[in-house]
Symmetry: C4
Subunit: 362 residues, 4 copies
């Protein structure tokens, strides 16, 4: 049989990506921490969740648009921050920003992008949010926020699950380094744009250990919110008590995430953390979920269990490494098409018709 | 060891069928949608259910006959609708109709049969039901109903889980098409008897998208019931609330089904959906279950959990592709024999002695 | 490494047996019915049960003797009935009877033995029970009981889970037959000592279908008890309601068994059926459990969950086929040693110190 | 790709150890008893436990020091007793003692060490505890205690789960023997320093059967405590009732352990036994847990579920066999680093901030 090579689903892109990325970059992107149990569980947890679809609802016009932070987006699917996209494609973050723009969607750009935030926002007519790693150096942190705001970013996403970098053993064995020609451009003026060399283990882990603030507390969140004068999202919430604390500290939204299984190995799958958090939040602020989204039906499951929206990380990289902006657009289109079909087959004509009633109890 | 090739059980027919069907037809028949999780779960869910058999009941004369919709059938096992049987055997639906007739059983004939419904009913002295896909074109739909009624069909089975076709990736990769010599004969006069060609993906999915009614609601069910003047069954119910709505809308019976794992992937295994639906229906209308029936003991499990009867789809195709009418008869005979034996070994002399008491709690 | 071939555990005997038995006999002994799910589950169910062992009890003198039906046996482990032992070893049932005798233990001899019951009892100074298949022919049945009683059998074990033989597909494919030189000697005078030939499937299944009583009910149990004038045990109870009925009908004991996974496939693992039955029986009559015992720790689990004693079937055949009486003695010795060690390590000095308190809730 | 051979984690040391240890010693160290279900479950049980990490706590200075029995140790991780370390490395117990000393940690030295306890304590500036097997010979036992006390041991750890040795089938098949040049030096004067030869099975099992006290009861514990005049810990508690009895008998601490899966196979995984014991103990005495610790995150799980501290056994042997004292230090350092990182990523700055709140319910 001569099967033409379609790129039908995200797994097709994943396979292609494994074959084209340089080994060290591929390892960097796909790794989880330690034994990668959480990495695997992020996916298998979705498989254990079963639908009770509804029928005989008019689904002739399935609408996936939704509102996130005051903006209408084309589907409840945004781009989670991932660092160092220059390793995946020469156009790196720019290609992703343009793809997000084409899809009328939000890209959360990483502090550790290989492209300055100003260039990224300029490439995205839609909406860019800025992911912030808080540096020990307070001035550096404020400079980053200031630049993001001036560049037109619509929100700051503070990563709160990474005071240290999780131990990603592939990176340690590879003595992971940024390729010579790449910089973390947002950090150039601050003198932190390169990873330390010859540290005998992961250069990125060493960088984190040296520069990232490990004493960040809830008090600092209030302080950052004040200085940012932008909506603040916290990324990396898994405990319902932290979700409650986020609300008490005036945070504008949270991202339920285990950092793609790259921080504390053994952490709960993000989708399994969602129900308790959703109950604790009780619709007071939006919940975004990332980790393990590979199909439109995964998005439907996440929304049914209380997320307003999901984020994707690795799949964006697969699309990017395959065919740049076009590949990322394809990834977004595939997921949106799959979500649309899943909604139709579950009897939901729009996002507001999605509820926990669609999910079978185990 | 020289083991003779018996055709002992349905798996023997499945294996034979994989070897004889043209690859594209084989893929069409065996596929589930997307990652095929529901397809697999339909089967493994049965394996997780355990019997607590009874003993010392007189089982010298095990009777499997049962009543479905006023008709006495030889066993609680009918033929679920499957499209395009002409790909499996030259005699296609006719062979299946004759086999169902020989077994004094019901065949549900698909809208998308390769044989006109009139020829099918003429070949079945027993009972033919007509599976209806509701077209956007109201007249086309009414014409189909009218023809089915005039042909002598005893009931209309409206498929309610397929406003769109599930994404069956094998068909997409194969750019699935109907072989040149085959038509969907019931749709000839309506001009919808061929699948569109060269659409770059599944011709059947495209056909569905173009022609099938996506705005069907409960109101239409009442309207269809009125026009059909025949008992109406809904096929594709998985949610207990929809089972209740079916009763409220005067439906005559439901088929608990996830379309053989071919529509929304991630849907609950049909046998796992049954207990809640059975409770909601509370014996007010008959419940038929399909999805994953491979052994007579699966039928016994389904009946114990509240089904009046089960349907089989793929196994009919395996028998048909192996040896036409005779093969289908063998499939029905094997399942009936296995059911009889399972009933005897569980201490049930007839269908009414089967109850939930036979099933162990996990 | 030159590891000497010890026969340390039952698995060593199983492996040896697979290599020495004629294929058809091997298939006959090892088969379960249909897909062999219950066969497998009998074993894996034990693995899911976990001990909470006790410490600091004096275990310098672990005593495994127990009382069953008024007789003191060396350990809570008897020999379940298995048919046609002549296929495994020329001395067949005689070798097993002598091994049971040497171990001061009980052998339940099958109706379908290849040795007359009188010869079996003559070889066993300890205790022989007679397993009874109830024939349609009432006189034949009474003759069997009479002979068993006269031969000195101490109890009658009526198999109640086999009105028909379960479908053992290996036997069907092999067209299983008794070797020319073997007879079912207890049935010689009754003219039922050979299996029918050339039936195109399992000769034994055909024999059952022809001759075994399928209308046996609880009423017959009372009648049989009266005629036997011996303690009556029922073998093949899995449902707690049947255990209660057994007590109400004056039965002297029950064997919780799924016939080694050879009857209704999909039946609960026997050890999983035990807790509910144990609760229903509430120590009014002894409970024997068989199915899946492979280690002394399995015996300990069964006793902790309410059995007075366990039976073993296939392991006896493995020992027999390996080295006749000596092999069976080894099997009994291995299990008794393992039980003794398991009791000591669980802090139990004798059988009465074993309780459900040793088992962890899941 | 030329990946340098880092020794990153405990699995790297395990693999190295499999390749360098003599087969019989390797089998001795890695074996569990019987089918090794408990051995495997000790590890997989940890994988089933999931974290709900906390965020935004100041973790700039994670402190792993904790108090055990009045001593401050560098991390909640001590060295469980393992016998016969001379087979792993010429420096055996001395190397381990020095590594424990370097880490300011506690080594529990085995009765069956290949080095006299006086030499072990002399090599450890930190703290040595003495693991005691209670011999039938009361004088021998008292002599051992006396020597341990005089040598400066800070506590006596009585192993209570080994009245007999578990059946380790590899050792039986290997007819396990101590190499010619090694002795159990603590038992030299007592005439018990060599294993019996040519017993046809495990020499160690035979030794246990001959010499170890099987009638040890709670009364003896009080007697031993009196004579030892040292804190007494009991090793091998899995049942909450035994934990309560330990408190009632004035024991100073317990080690929740299934002896590395080497005693009663089928015993609960030690981490699964912990919650009920932790509840029963209610912080009255310290709980140490061993069995299956392979990552720093396992330590965090154990502490969250109620342990004060964990012990490691086999990993010490892997480090020892790889590179003597240095290898053991590496093992301790790796686990401490991993624990530190896990604590930071779970939002815990010190041991007292670890609680059951970090663990997700299943």
């Amino acid at each position: 049989m001569n099967i033409p090579e379609h790129m039908l689903n995200l797994y097709d892109y994943e396979k292609a990506s494994q074959n084209t990325l340089p080994p060290s970059a591929n390892d960097y992107y796909r790794s989880g921490s330690m034994d990668e149990y959480t990495l695997a569980d992020n996916m298998t947890a979705f498989q254990r969740i079963k639908f009770l679809p509804r029928v005989l609802n008019d689904v002739s016009n399935v609408i996936t648009t939704t509102n996130l932070g005051g903006k209408t987006i084309s589907s409840p699917l945004i781009i989670s921050p991932t660092a160092l996209l220059g390793m995946a494609h020469p156009e790196g973050e720019l290609a992703v920003a343009r793809a997000a723009s084409a899809a009328n969607n939000i890209m959360i750009c990483s502090t550790m992008a290989n492209t300055p935030i100003e260039d990224v926002t300029a490439s995205n007519d839609s909406s860019t949010w800025f992911q912030l790693y808080v540096y020990k150096d307070k001035e550096a942190t404020l400079t980053l926020i200031e630049r993001a705001k001036n560049a037109g970013c619509k929100a700051i996403v503070i990563t709160v699950d990474a005071p240290f970098l999780g131990q990603r053993e592939r990176d340690v064995r590879n003595q992971f380094q940024l390729p010579e020609h790449l910089h973390m451009s947002n950090l150039h003026a601050l003198g932190h744009s390169k990873l330390p060399d010859k540290v005998g283990h992961s250069g990125l882990a060493h960088y984190f250990e040296e520069l990232i603030n490990k004493s960040l507390t809830w008090r600092d969140i209030s302080w950052l919110k004040q200085h940012a004068d932008l909506p603040i999202y916290l990324k990396g919430i898994l405990h319902p008590k932290d979700a409650q604390l986020a609300i008490e500290h005036g945070v504008d939204g949270i991202i339920v995430s285990n950092h793609g299984g790259r921080q504390l190995d053994g952490s709960i799958a993000s989708i399994n953390a969602l129900p308790a958090i959703s109950k604790a939040v009780n619709k007071q602020i939006p919940i975004i979920l990332d980790g393990g989204i590979r199909r439109g039906s995964d998005i439907l499951k996440a929304l049914a269990l209380g997320a307003q929206c999901v984020g994707i990380g690795r799949p964006v990289i697969w699309g990017l490494s395959h065919s740049g902006q076009h590949g990322v657009e394809n990834i977004l289109n595939i997921l949106q098409s799959e979500l649309k079909l899943a909604m139709a087959l579950a009897g939901c004509a729009n996002i507001s018709e999605i509820s926990a009633d669609l999910i079978a109890e185990l």
